[in-house]
Amino acid sequence: MTAPKTMPRLAIEDLSAISLRDGNRPILRRVSLDVGLGEVHGLVGESGAGKSTIAKAILGIIPSQVRIAGGKIGFEGRDLLTLSGSALRAVLGRDIALVPQDPTTALNPSRRIDAQMTDGLRLKRGLSAKEARLRAHSLLEEVQIRDPDRVLASYPHQLSGGMRQRVLIAAAFGLEPKLVIADEPTTALDVTVQKQILRLIRALQERHGTSVLFVSHDLGVVAKICDRVTVLYMGKVVEQGATAAVLAAPRHAYTKALLAANPRYDRPDTGLEPTPPEVITALRAEIAAFDAGSGEARDG
Protein backbone atom coordinates (compact mmCIF):
# COMPACT_ATOMS: atom_id res chain seq x y z
CA MET A 1 0.00 0.00 0.00
CA THR A 2 1.35 3.43 -0.91
CA ALA A 3 1.55 6.01 1.83
CA PRO A 4 -0.78 8.97 1.35
CA LYS A 5 0.89 12.24 0.53
CA THR A 6 -0.50 14.26 3.42
CA MET A 7 -1.27 12.86 6.84
CA PRO A 8 -4.72 11.24 6.68
CA ARG A 9 -7.41 12.35 9.08
CA LEU A 10 -8.06 8.84 10.32
CA ALA A 11 -5.42 6.16 10.08
CA ILE A 12 -6.34 2.69 11.28
CA GLU A 13 -3.36 0.38 11.44
CA ASP A 14 -3.42 -3.37 11.93
CA LEU A 15 -6.58 -3.24 14.01
CA SER A 16 -7.45 -6.68 15.39
CA ALA A 17 -10.33 -7.71 17.58
CA ILE A 18 -11.60 -10.96 19.04
CA SER A 19 -14.94 -12.11 20.35
CA LEU A 20 -14.61 -13.23 23.96
CA ARG A 21 -17.86 -15.13 23.81
CA ASP A 22 -16.97 -17.30 20.84
CA GLY A 23 -13.74 -18.86 22.07
CA ASN A 24 -11.67 -15.81 21.12
CA ARG A 25 -12.71 -16.01 17.47
CA PRO A 26 -11.06 -13.18 15.55
CA ILE A 27 -13.56 -10.63 14.24
CA LEU A 28 -11.10 -8.09 12.90
CA ARG A 29 -7.88 -9.28 11.29
CA ARG A 30 -5.22 -6.57 11.13
CA VAL A 31 -7.40 -4.07 9.35
CA SER A 32 -5.60 -1.03 7.98
CA LEU A 33 -7.36 1.85 6.27
CA ASP A 34 -7.10 5.58 6.19
CA VAL A 35 -9.57 8.35 5.52
CA GLY A 36 -7.99 11.43 3.93
CA LEU A 37 -8.92 15.06 4.48
CA GLY A 38 -12.26 15.75 2.86
CA GLU A 39 -12.55 12.16 1.67
CA VAL A 40 -15.58 9.86 1.81
CA HIS A 41 -14.29 6.38 2.45
CA GLY A 42 -16.63 3.44 2.00
CA LEU A 43 -16.48 0.39 4.23
CA VAL A 44 -18.41 -2.48 2.66
CA GLY A 45 -19.03 -6.10 3.49
CA GLU A 46 -21.81 -8.55 4.29
CA SER A 47 -23.17 -9.09 7.79
CA GLY A 48 -20.48 -10.31 10.15
CA ALA A 49 -17.70 -8.75 8.09
CA GLY A 50 -16.75 -6.47 10.98
CA LYS A 51 -17.76 -3.10 9.52
CA SER A 52 -19.70 -1.98 12.54
CA THR A 53 -17.00 -3.23 14.92
CA ILE A 54 -14.60 -0.81 13.25
CA ALA A 55 -17.06 2.05 13.60
CA LYS A 56 -17.64 1.17 17.27
CA ALA A 57 -13.91 0.93 17.94
CA ILE A 58 -13.42 4.47 16.64
CA LEU A 59 -16.26 5.73 18.82
CA GLY A 60 -15.02 3.83 21.87
CA ILE A 61 -18.23 1.85 22.27
CA ILE A 62 -16.98 -1.68 21.76
CA PRO A 63 -19.45 -4.20 23.26
CA SER A 64 -18.26 -6.00 26.36
CA GLN A 65 -17.84 -9.35 24.62
CA VAL A 66 -15.41 -7.90 22.07
CA ARG A 67 -11.79 -7.12 22.86
CA ILE A 68 -9.36 -5.12 20.76
CA ALA A 69 -6.37 -7.41 20.34
CA GLY A 70 -3.99 -5.00 18.70
CA GLY A 71 -3.42 -2.13 16.34
CA LYS A 72 -3.95 1.62 16.39
CA ILE A 73 -6.65 4.08 15.48
CA GLY A 74 -4.73 7.23 14.65
CA PHE A 75 -6.67 10.47 14.70
CA GLU A 76 -4.86 13.81 14.56
CA GLY A 77 -1.63 12.18 15.62
CA ARG A 78 -3.14 10.45 18.66
CA ASP A 79 -4.17 6.83 19.10
CA LEU A 80 -7.83 6.84 20.08
CA LEU A 81 -7.45 3.38 21.62
CA THR A 82 -5.05 4.70 24.26
CA LEU A 83 -7.10 7.74 25.28
CA SER A 84 -8.72 7.81 28.70
CA GLY A 85 -12.50 7.92 28.94
CA SER A 86 -12.64 11.67 29.54
CA ALA A 87 -10.03 12.46 26.87
CA LEU A 88 -11.99 10.40 24.37
CA ARG A 89 -15.22 12.12 25.35
CA ALA A 90 -13.57 15.47 24.71
CA VAL A 91 -12.73 14.34 21.17
CA LEU A 92 -16.09 12.72 20.46
CA GLY A 93 -18.83 15.12 19.53
CA ARG A 94 -16.36 17.92 18.89
CA ASP A 95 -14.09 16.24 16.34
CA ILE A 96 -15.89 12.99 15.56
CA ALA A 97 -19.65 12.64 15.06
CA LEU A 98 -21.98 9.81 14.14
CA VAL A 99 -24.88 9.56 11.70
CA PRO A 100 -26.68 6.43 12.89
CA GLN A 101 -28.50 3.77 10.91
CA ASP A 102 -32.04 3.89 12.16
CA PRO A 103 -33.58 7.35 12.45
CA THR A 104 -36.55 5.91 14.33
CA THR A 105 -34.48 4.99 17.38
CA ALA A 106 -31.77 7.62 17.15
CA LEU A 107 -33.87 10.48 18.45
CA ASN A 108 -35.09 10.52 22.03
CA PRO A 109 -38.89 10.12 21.77
CA SER A 110 -39.61 12.20 24.84
CA ARG A 111 -37.47 15.25 24.10
CA ARG A 112 -38.15 17.96 21.54
CA ILE A 113 -35.80 18.25 18.55
CA ASP A 114 -34.79 21.62 19.93
CA ALA A 115 -33.41 20.15 23.16
CA GLN A 116 -31.70 17.29 21.38
CA MET A 117 -29.93 19.52 18.88
CA THR A 118 -28.85 22.23 21.26
CA ASP A 119 -27.46 20.18 24.16
CA GLY A 120 -24.42 19.09 22.16
CA LEU A 121 -23.78 22.60 20.86
CA ARG A 122 -23.88 23.95 24.39
CA LEU A 123 -21.65 21.25 25.80
CA LYS A 124 -19.12 21.03 22.98
CA ARG A 125 -19.15 24.50 21.48
CA GLY A 126 -19.89 26.44 24.67
CA LEU A 127 -22.82 28.28 23.12
CA SER A 128 -25.52 29.93 25.21
CA ALA A 129 -29.04 28.56 25.00
CA LYS A 130 -30.03 31.34 22.64
CA GLU A 131 -26.99 30.97 20.40
CA ALA A 132 -27.45 27.23 20.26
CA ARG A 133 -31.05 27.62 19.23
CA LEU A 134 -30.10 30.04 16.43
CA ARG A 135 -27.40 27.67 15.29
CA ALA A 136 -29.81 24.72 15.29
CA HIS A 137 -32.21 26.78 13.23
CA SER A 138 -29.62 27.59 10.58
CA LEU A 139 -28.42 23.97 10.57
CA LEU A 140 -31.90 22.75 9.74
CA GLU A 141 -32.05 25.30 6.92
CA GLU A 142 -28.76 23.93 5.69
CA VAL A 143 -30.26 20.43 5.42
CA GLN A 144 -33.09 21.95 3.39
CA ILE A 145 -35.82 21.76 5.97
CA ARG A 146 -38.40 24.34 4.97
CA ASP A 147 -39.90 25.17 8.35
CA PRO A 148 -37.14 24.84 10.95
CA ASP A 149 -39.14 26.46 13.74
CA ARG A 150 -41.86 23.90 13.51
CA VAL A 151 -39.39 21.04 13.36
CA LEU A 152 -37.47 22.38 16.35
CA ALA A 153 -40.68 22.47 18.38
CA SER A 154 -41.62 18.91 17.34
CA TYR A 155 -41.19 15.57 19.01
CA PRO A 156 -39.56 12.87 16.85
CA HIS A 157 -42.79 10.94 16.27
CA GLN A 158 -44.22 13.97 14.49
CA LEU A 159 -41.55 13.75 11.77
CA SER A 160 -41.17 11.36 8.85
CA GLY A 161 -38.22 8.97 8.62
CA GLY A 162 -36.44 11.06 6.01
CA MET A 163 -37.00 14.17 8.07
CA ARG A 164 -35.53 12.58 11.18
CA GLN A 165 -32.49 11.50 9.23
CA ARG A 166 -32.05 15.11 8.07
CA VAL A 167 -32.23 16.27 11.68
CA LEU A 168 -29.62 13.70 12.68
CA ILE A 169 -27.34 14.75 9.83
CA ALA A 170 -27.76 18.40 10.80
CA ALA A 171 -26.92 17.55 14.41
CA ALA A 172 -23.83 15.56 13.37
CA PHE A 173 -22.41 18.14 10.94
CA GLY A 174 -23.55 21.00 13.15
CA LEU A 175 -20.79 20.29 15.66
CA GLU A 176 -18.34 20.89 12.81
CA PRO A 177 -16.50 17.66 13.35
CA LYS A 178 -13.45 16.68 11.37
CA LEU A 179 -14.68 13.14 10.89
CA VAL A 180 -18.22 11.79 10.52
CA ILE A 181 -18.94 8.11 10.90
CA ALA A 182 -22.02 7.32 8.79
CA ASP A 183 -23.24 3.87 9.84
CA GLU A 184 -25.57 2.59 7.09
CA PRO A 185 -27.38 5.94 7.21
CA THR A 186 -29.85 5.12 4.43
CA THR A 187 -30.58 1.42 5.00
CA ALA A 188 -33.88 2.08 6.74
CA LEU A 189 -35.12 4.56 4.12
CA ASP A 190 -37.07 4.32 0.86
CA VAL A 191 -34.96 4.70 -2.29
CA THR A 192 -36.19 8.16 -3.22
CA VAL A 193 -35.47 9.42 0.29
CA GLN A 194 -32.13 7.58 0.24
CA LYS A 195 -31.07 9.55 -2.78
CA GLN A 196 -31.91 12.86 -1.09
CA ILE A 197 -30.00 11.88 2.03
CA LEU A 198 -26.93 10.76 0.08
CA ARG A 199 -26.97 14.04 -1.83
CA LEU A 200 -27.20 15.93 1.43
CA ILE A 201 -24.32 14.10 3.09
CA ARG A 202 -22.11 14.64 0.06
CA ALA A 203 -23.01 18.34 -0.15
CA LEU A 204 -22.37 19.03 3.54
CA GLN A 205 -19.17 17.03 3.46
CA GLU A 206 -17.84 18.98 0.49
CA ARG A 207 -18.87 22.33 1.91
CA HIS A 208 -17.20 21.74 5.28
CA GLY A 209 -14.30 19.61 4.07
CA THR A 210 -15.38 16.87 6.47
CA SER A 211 -13.91 13.38 6.20
CA VAL A 212 -16.53 10.62 6.22
CA LEU A 213 -16.22 6.94 6.96
CA PHE A 214 -19.28 5.54 5.21
CA VAL A 215 -20.33 2.06 6.37
CA SER A 216 -22.62 0.20 3.98
CA HIS A 217 -23.59 -3.22 2.70
CA ASP A 218 -24.74 -1.79 -0.63
CA LEU A 219 -22.15 -1.47 -3.39
CA GLY A 220 -24.59 0.72 -5.33
CA VAL A 221 -24.75 3.31 -2.56
CA VAL A 222 -20.99 3.19 -2.12
CA ALA A 223 -20.53 3.77 -5.85
CA LYS A 224 -22.52 6.98 -5.63
CA ILE A 225 -20.93 8.64 -2.65
CA CYS A 226 -17.50 7.22 -1.82
CA ASP A 227 -14.13 8.33 -3.17
CA ARG A 228 -12.36 5.24 -2.00
CA VAL A 229 -13.61 1.92 -0.70
CA THR A 230 -12.44 -0.90 1.57
CA VAL A 231 -14.05 -4.33 1.11
CA LEU A 232 -14.12 -6.54 4.20
CA TYR A 233 -14.70 -10.26 4.50
CA MET A 234 -14.72 -11.95 7.91
CA GLY A 235 -12.85 -9.05 9.44
CA LYS A 236 -10.12 -8.99 6.83
CA VAL A 237 -9.52 -6.37 4.15
CA VAL A 238 -9.79 -8.15 0.81
CA GLU A 239 -9.65 -5.14 -1.45
CA GLN A 240 -9.00 -1.44 -1.11
CA GLY A 241 -8.77 1.38 -3.62
CA ALA A 242 -10.48 4.13 -5.55
CA THR A 243 -14.18 3.33 -5.88
CA ALA A 244 -14.16 3.64 -9.66
CA ALA A 245 -11.24 1.26 -9.99
CA VAL A 246 -12.54 -1.32 -7.56
CA LEU A 247 -16.01 -1.43 -9.14
CA ALA A 248 -14.85 -1.33 -12.75
CA ALA A 249 -12.05 -3.83 -12.37
CA PRO A 250 -12.22 -5.69 -9.07
CA ARG A 251 -9.02 -7.58 -8.37
CA HIS A 252 -10.20 -9.90 -5.63
CA ALA A 253 -12.49 -12.82 -6.47
CA TYR A 254 -14.74 -11.94 -3.51
CA THR A 255 -15.39 -8.40 -4.77
CA LYS A 256 -16.16 -9.89 -8.17
CA ALA A 257 -18.59 -12.34 -6.56
CA LEU A 258 -20.33 -9.55 -4.62
CA LEU A 259 -20.84 -7.58 -7.81
CA ALA A 260 -22.07 -10.66 -9.65
CA ALA A 261 -24.64 -11.43 -6.94
CA ASN A 262 -26.06 -7.91 -7.06
CA PRO A 263 -29.12 -7.67 -9.33
CA ARG A 264 -29.20 -4.68 -11.71
CA TYR A 265 -32.31 -3.38 -13.39
CA ASP A 266 -30.27 -2.21 -16.36
CA ARG A 267 -28.82 -5.68 -16.93
CA PRO A 268 -31.57 -8.16 -16.11
CA ASP A 269 -29.61 -11.11 -17.44
CA THR A 270 -26.71 -10.66 -15.05
CA GLY A 271 -26.74 -10.60 -11.27
CA LEU A 272 -28.10 -13.25 -8.87
CA GLU A 273 -24.90 -15.26 -9.33
CA PRO A 274 -24.36 -17.25 -6.15
CA THR A 275 -20.80 -17.00 -4.88
CA PRO A 276 -18.94 -19.92 -6.50
CA PRO A 277 -17.92 -22.53 -3.93
CA GLU A 278 -14.29 -22.37 -5.01
CA VAL A 279 -14.24 -18.64 -4.16
CA ILE A 280 -15.51 -19.41 -0.67
CA THR A 281 -12.99 -22.23 -0.27
CA ALA A 282 -10.20 -19.96 -1.40
CA LEU A 283 -11.34 -17.19 0.97
CA ARG A 284 -11.49 -19.58 3.91
CA ALA A 285 -8.02 -20.84 3.07
CA GLU A 286 -6.75 -17.27 2.82
CA ILE A 287 -8.18 -16.46 6.23
CA ALA A 288 -6.81 -19.65 7.77
CA ALA A 289 -3.37 -18.92 6.33
CA PHE A 290 -3.59 -15.36 7.60
CA ASP A 291 -4.55 -16.49 11.11
CA ALA A 292 -1.72 -19.03 11.15
CA GLY A 293 0.72 -16.40 9.87
CA SER A 294 -0.22 -13.73 12.35
CA GLY A 295 -0.21 -16.32 15.11
CA GLU A 296 3.39 -17.17 14.27
CA ALA A 297 4.29 -13.53 14.04
CA ARG A 298 2.88 -13.00 17.52
CA ASP A 299 4.71 -15.97 18.94
CA GLY A 300 7.97 -15.06 17.24
Binding site: I145, Q158, L159, T192, Q196, D218, G220, A223, K224, A261
Partner: protein
Protein backbone atom coordinates in the same frame (compact mmCIF):
# COMPACT_ATOMS: atom_id res chain seq x y z
CA UNK B 1 -50.03 -13.86 -22.63
CA UNK B 2 -50.71 -16.65 -20.14
CA UNK B 3 -54.25 -17.57 -19.05
CA UNK B 4 -55.46 -15.63 -16.04
CA UNK B 5 -55.09 -17.39 -12.72
CA UNK B 6 -55.85 -14.62 -10.24
CA UNK B 7 -57.71 -11.48 -11.19
CA UNK B 8 -58.66 -8.72 -8.77
CA UNK B 9 -60.83 -5.81 -9.83
CA UNK B 10 -61.60 -2.58 -8.02
CA UNK B 11 -60.15 -3.73 -4.68
CA UNK B 12 -60.73 -1.34 -1.79
CA UNK B 13 -59.42 -2.13 1.68
CA UNK B 14 -59.91 -0.02 4.78
CA UNK B 15 -58.76 -0.88 8.27
CA UNK B 16 -60.89 -0.32 11.32
CA UNK B 17 -63.03 2.77 11.40
CA UNK B 18 -60.98 4.63 8.84
CA UNK B 19 -63.39 3.90 6.01
CA UNK B 20 -62.79 7.44 4.83
CA UNK B 21 -59.09 6.80 4.18
CA UNK B 22 -58.72 3.36 2.61
CA UNK B 23 -55.31 1.67 2.40
CA UNK B 24 -56.12 0.47 -1.12
CA UNK B 25 -58.16 2.48 -3.60
CA UNK B 26 -59.70 0.69 -6.52
CA UNK B 27 -56.78 -1.59 -7.35
CA UNK B 28 -56.84 -3.90 -10.38
CA UNK B 29 -54.27 -6.64 -10.74
CA UNK B 30 -53.98 -9.89 -12.65
CA UNK B 31 -51.54 -12.75 -12.40
CA UNK B 32 -51.40 -15.29 -15.23
CA UNK B 33 -50.79 -19.02 -14.78
CA UNK B 34 -47.10 -19.60 -14.24
CA UNK B 35 -46.39 -15.90 -14.37
CA UNK B 36 -44.22 -13.90 -11.95
CA UNK B 37 -45.59 -10.43 -11.24
CA UNK B 38 -43.67 -7.87 -9.20
CA UNK B 39 -45.56 -5.51 -6.90
CA UNK B 40 -43.28 -2.58 -6.07
CA UNK B 41 -43.68 0.56 -4.07
CA UNK B 42 -42.21 2.50 -1.14
CA UNK B 43 -43.38 2.26 2.44
CA UNK B 44 -47.06 3.12 2.77
CA UNK B 45 -47.83 2.17 -0.83
CA UNK B 46 -50.24 -0.57 0.26
CA UNK B 47 -48.34 -3.42 -1.39
CA UNK B 48 -48.42 -5.68 1.66
CA UNK B 49 -52.15 -5.05 2.17
CA UNK B 50 -52.77 -5.89 -1.48
CA UNK B 51 -50.94 -9.20 -1.07
CA UNK B 52 -52.88 -10.12 2.04
CA UNK B 53 -56.17 -9.21 0.38
CA UNK B 54 -55.35 -11.45 -2.60
CA UNK B 55 -54.89 -14.36 -0.19
CA UNK B 56 -58.07 -13.59 1.70
CA UNK B 57 -56.19 -12.77 4.91
CA UNK B 58 -57.72 -9.29 4.81
CA UNK B 59 -61.34 -8.74 3.77
CA UNK B 60 -61.73 -6.11 1.02
CA UNK B 61 -64.49 -3.51 1.50
CA UNK B 62 -65.20 -3.50 -2.22
CA UNK B 63 -64.06 -5.21 -5.37
CA UNK B 64 -63.81 -8.81 -6.52
CA UNK B 65 -61.13 -11.49 -6.59
CA UNK B 66 -61.43 -14.33 -9.08
CA UNK B 67 -59.16 -17.34 -8.74
CA UNK B 68 -58.98 -19.86 -11.55
CA UNK B 69 -62.39 -18.86 -12.85
CA UNK B 70 -64.33 -18.76 -9.59
CA UNK B 71 -65.14 -15.75 -7.44
CA UNK B 72 -63.43 -16.11 -4.04
CA UNK B 73 -64.05 -12.62 -2.67
CA UNK B 74 -66.46 -13.72 0.03
CA UNK B 75 -66.27 -17.51 0.19
CA UNK B 76 -67.01 -19.07 3.57
CA UNK B 77 -64.34 -20.29 5.95
CA UNK B 78 -64.73 -23.90 4.83
CA UNK B 79 -64.33 -23.23 1.11
CA UNK B 80 -61.50 -20.84 1.91
CA UNK B 81 -59.59 -23.57 3.70
CA UNK B 82 -59.62 -25.90 0.73
CA UNK B 83 -58.45 -22.99 -1.42
CA UNK B 84 -55.50 -22.49 0.90
CA UNK B 85 -53.58 -25.39 -0.54
CA UNK B 86 -53.58 -23.75 -3.94
CA UNK B 87 -52.64 -20.27 -2.69
CA UNK B 88 -49.55 -20.08 -0.51
CA UNK B 89 -47.39 -17.41 1.05
CA UNK B 90 -43.75 -16.76 1.89
CA UNK B 91 -43.08 -14.20 4.61
CA UNK B 92 -40.66 -11.33 5.05
CA UNK B 93 -39.35 -12.36 8.44
CA UNK B 94 -38.65 -16.08 8.42
CA UNK B 95 -37.95 -16.01 12.16
CA UNK B 96 -41.38 -14.86 13.21
CA UNK B 97 -43.15 -16.86 10.50
CA UNK B 98 -41.84 -20.18 11.83
CA UNK B 99 -43.34 -21.34 15.11
CA UNK B 100 -40.41 -21.46 17.56
CA UNK B 101 -41.92 -24.48 19.35
CA UNK B 102 -42.28 -26.68 16.29
CA UNK B 103 -39.55 -28.56 14.48
CA UNK B 104 -39.04 -27.86 10.80
CA UNK B 105 -40.36 -31.38 10.16
CA UNK B 106 -43.62 -30.65 11.95
CA UNK B 107 -44.01 -27.32 10.16
CA UNK B 108 -43.70 -29.07 6.79
CA UNK B 109 -45.50 -32.36 7.50
CA UNK B 110 -48.70 -31.10 9.11
CA UNK B 111 -49.96 -29.09 6.12
CA UNK B 112 -49.48 -32.19 3.93
CA UNK B 113 -51.59 -34.30 6.26
CA UNK B 114 -54.18 -31.56 6.63
CA UNK B 115 -54.76 -31.32 2.91
CA UNK B 116 -54.53 -35.07 2.34
CA UNK B 117 -51.47 -34.82 0.12
CA UNK B 118 -49.97 -37.67 2.09
CA UNK B 119 -51.82 -40.65 3.55
CA UNK B 120 -49.65 -41.01 6.59
CA UNK B 121 -46.65 -39.53 8.34
CA UNK B 122 -44.29 -41.86 6.54
CA UNK B 123 -45.46 -40.68 3.13
CA UNK B 124 -45.43 -37.06 4.27
CA UNK B 125 -41.88 -37.47 5.52
CA UNK B 126 -40.81 -38.74 2.13
CA UNK B 127 -42.39 -35.74 0.41
CA UNK B 128 -40.71 -33.43 2.90
CA UNK B 129 -37.34 -35.03 2.21
CA UNK B 130 -37.83 -34.37 -1.48
CA UNK B 131 -38.71 -30.75 -0.95
CA UNK B 132 -35.77 -30.24 1.44
CA UNK B 133 -33.45 -31.68 -1.17
CA UNK B 134 -34.95 -29.37 -3.74
CA UNK B 135 -34.53 -26.18 -1.68
CA UNK B 136 -31.03 -27.17 -0.69
CA UNK B 137 -31.52 -27.95 2.98
CA UNK B 138 -30.02 -31.01 4.67
CA UNK B 139 -32.55 -33.76 5.48
CA UNK B 140 -31.70 -33.63 9.16
CA UNK B 141 -33.23 -30.13 9.22
CA UNK B 142 -36.55 -31.87 9.99
CA UNK B 143 -35.42 -32.31 13.59
CA UNK B 144 -34.20 -28.75 13.99
CA UNK B 145 -35.98 -25.69 15.34
CA UNK B 146 -36.09 -22.44 13.40
CA UNK B 147 -33.73 -20.67 15.78
CA UNK B 148 -31.07 -23.26 15.07
CA UNK B 149 -30.88 -22.24 11.39
CA UNK B 150 -29.24 -19.30 9.62
CA UNK B 151 -31.31 -16.53 8.02
CA UNK B 152 -30.89 -17.92 4.52
CA UNK B 153 -31.79 -21.45 5.67
CA UNK B 154 -34.91 -20.18 7.43
CA UNK B 155 -36.05 -18.46 4.28
CA UNK B 156 -35.54 -21.77 2.42
CA UNK B 157 -37.82 -23.41 4.98
CA UNK B 158 -40.36 -20.68 4.27
CA UNK B 159 -40.15 -21.48 0.57
CA UNK B 160 -40.37 -25.22 1.25
CA UNK B 161 -43.50 -24.74 3.35
CA UNK B 162 -45.14 -22.82 0.51
CA UNK B 163 -44.22 -25.20 -2.32
CA UNK B 164 -44.64 -28.50 -0.50
CA UNK B 165 -48.41 -28.19 -1.00
CA UNK B 166 -47.91 -27.92 -4.79
CA UNK B 167 -49.86 -24.65 -4.99
CA UNK B 168 -50.78 -22.78 -8.15
CA UNK B 169 -50.11 -19.38 -6.69
CA UNK B 170 -47.56 -18.08 -4.19
CA UNK B 171 -47.32 -14.66 -2.62
CA UNK B 172 -43.79 -13.62 -1.61
CA UNK B 173 -43.74 -10.53 0.62
CA UNK B 174 -40.33 -8.80 0.80
CA UNK B 175 -38.71 -12.16 1.30
CA UNK B 176 -35.12 -11.10 0.68
CA UNK B 177 -35.05 -7.72 2.36
CA UNK B 178 -33.12 -8.89 5.41
CA UNK B 179 -30.59 -11.03 3.58
CA UNK B 180 -27.03 -10.40 2.40
CA UNK B 181 -26.65 -10.07 -1.34
CA UNK B 182 -25.02 -13.46 -1.82
CA UNK B 183 -27.76 -15.20 0.19
CA UNK B 184 -30.36 -13.11 -1.61
CA UNK B 185 -28.98 -14.31 -4.95
CA UNK B 186 -29.30 -17.96 -3.85
CA UNK B 187 -32.86 -17.54 -2.58
CA UNK B 188 -34.04 -15.64 -5.66
CA UNK B 189 -32.40 -18.11 -8.02
CA UNK B 190 -34.13 -20.98 -6.20
CA UNK B 191 -37.47 -19.22 -6.41
CA UNK B 192 -37.02 -18.54 -10.12
CA UNK B 193 -36.20 -22.18 -10.79
CA UNK B 194 -39.15 -23.42 -8.75
CA UNK B 195 -41.68 -21.20 -10.52
CA UNK B 196 -40.42 -22.61 -13.84
CA UNK B 197 -40.43 -26.25 -12.72
CA UNK B 198 -43.82 -26.14 -11.01
CA UNK B 199 -45.51 -23.74 -13.40
CA UNK B 200 -46.13 -21.59 -10.35
CA UNK B 201 -47.70 -18.15 -10.48
CA UNK B 202 -45.87 -15.77 -8.16
CA UNK B 203 -46.76 -12.35 -6.83
CA UNK B 204 -43.46 -10.88 -5.69
CA UNK B 205 -43.77 -7.89 -3.36
CA UNK B 206 -40.60 -5.83 -3.03
CA UNK B 207 -39.26 -2.34 -2.56
CA UNK B 208 -36.17 -3.23 -4.62
CA UNK B 209 -36.73 -2.62 -8.32
CA UNK B 210 -33.52 -4.32 -9.36
CA UNK B 211 -34.61 -7.54 -7.70
CA UNK B 212 -38.03 -7.30 -9.32
CA UNK B 213 -36.47 -6.70 -12.72
CA UNK B 214 -34.32 -9.79 -12.32
CA UNK B 215 -37.08 -12.29 -11.57
CA UNK B 216 -40.42 -10.89 -12.75
CA UNK B 217 -42.06 -10.84 -16.14
CA UNK B 218 -44.50 -8.10 -15.31
CA UNK B 219 -44.54 -5.35 -12.72
CA UNK B 220 -47.17 -3.30 -10.92
CA UNK B 221 -45.97 -0.01 -9.43
CA UNK B 222 -47.94 1.23 -6.43
CA UNK B 223 -48.07 4.52 -4.59
CA UNK B 224 -50.32 5.50 -1.69
CA UNK B 225 -52.73 2.63 -2.29
CA UNK B 226 -53.09 3.11 -6.02
CA UNK B 227 -51.55 1.43 -9.04
CA UNK B 228 -49.58 4.10 -10.92
CA UNK B 229 -48.17 1.90 -13.63
CA UNK B 230 -48.42 -1.68 -14.78
CA UNK B 231 -46.80 -3.58 -17.63
CA UNK B 232 -44.12 -5.95 -18.84
CA UNK B 233 -40.84 -5.38 -16.94
CA UNK B 234 -38.91 -4.78 -20.12
CA UNK B 235 -41.21 -1.97 -21.19
CA UNK B 236 -41.65 -0.38 -17.74
CA UNK B 237 -37.95 -0.25 -17.04
CA UNK B 238 -36.90 0.95 -20.48
CA UNK B 239 -39.75 3.43 -21.01
CA UNK B 240 -41.61 4.22 -17.80
CA UNK B 241 -44.77 6.17 -18.42
CA UNK B 242 -45.55 7.48 -14.94
CA UNK B 243 -43.29 10.19 -13.49
CA UNK B 244 -43.28 8.33 -10.23
CA UNK B 245 -41.94 5.17 -11.84
CA UNK B 246 -39.23 7.19 -13.54
CA UNK B 247 -38.29 8.80 -10.23
CA UNK B 248 -38.13 5.41 -8.50
CA UNK B 249 -35.90 3.99 -11.22
CA UNK B 250 -33.66 7.05 -11.19
CA UNK B 251 -33.22 6.73 -7.45
CA UNK B 252 -31.76 3.21 -7.65
CA UNK B 253 -28.03 3.42 -7.07
CA UNK B 254 -26.27 1.12 -9.54
CA UNK B 255 -22.81 -0.07 -8.58
CA UNK B 256 -21.26 2.16 -11.22
CA UNK B 257 -19.42 5.37 -10.55
CA UNK B 258 -21.47 8.21 -12.01
CA UNK B 259 -20.52 11.61 -10.60
CA UNK B 260 -23.60 13.37 -11.96
CA UNK B 261 -26.11 10.88 -10.46
CA UNK B 262 -26.46 12.46 -7.04
CA UNK B 263 -27.54 15.84 -8.35
CA UNK B 264 -29.71 14.57 -11.14
CA UNK B 265 -33.41 14.26 -10.56
CA UNK B 266 -36.56 16.26 -10.42
CA UNK B 267 -36.65 19.50 -8.50
CA UNK B 268 -39.56 18.13 -6.52
CA UNK B 269 -37.43 15.91 -4.34
CA UNK B 270 -34.64 18.33 -3.43
CA UNK B 271 -36.39 19.97 -0.53
CA UNK B 272 -38.40 18.46 2.25
CA UNK B 273 -40.94 19.43 4.80
CA UNK B 274 -42.31 17.36 7.62
Amino acid sequence: MADDLLVARGLVVSYGRRAAAPVLHDVDIRVGKGETVGIVGESGSGKTTLGRALLGLVQPTAGSIVFDGSDITAVDEHARRSLRRRMQMIFQDPMSSLNPRHTIGRILIEPLLLHGLADNRQAARALVHNVLDRVGLPRNAVDRYSFELSGGQRQRVGIARAVVLRPDFVLADEIVSGLDVSTQAQVLRLLKELTGEMHLALAFISHDLSVVRSICQRVVVMREGRVVEEGACERVFSAPQADYTRMLIDAIPLPVVDPGWLNRGSAADTSASA
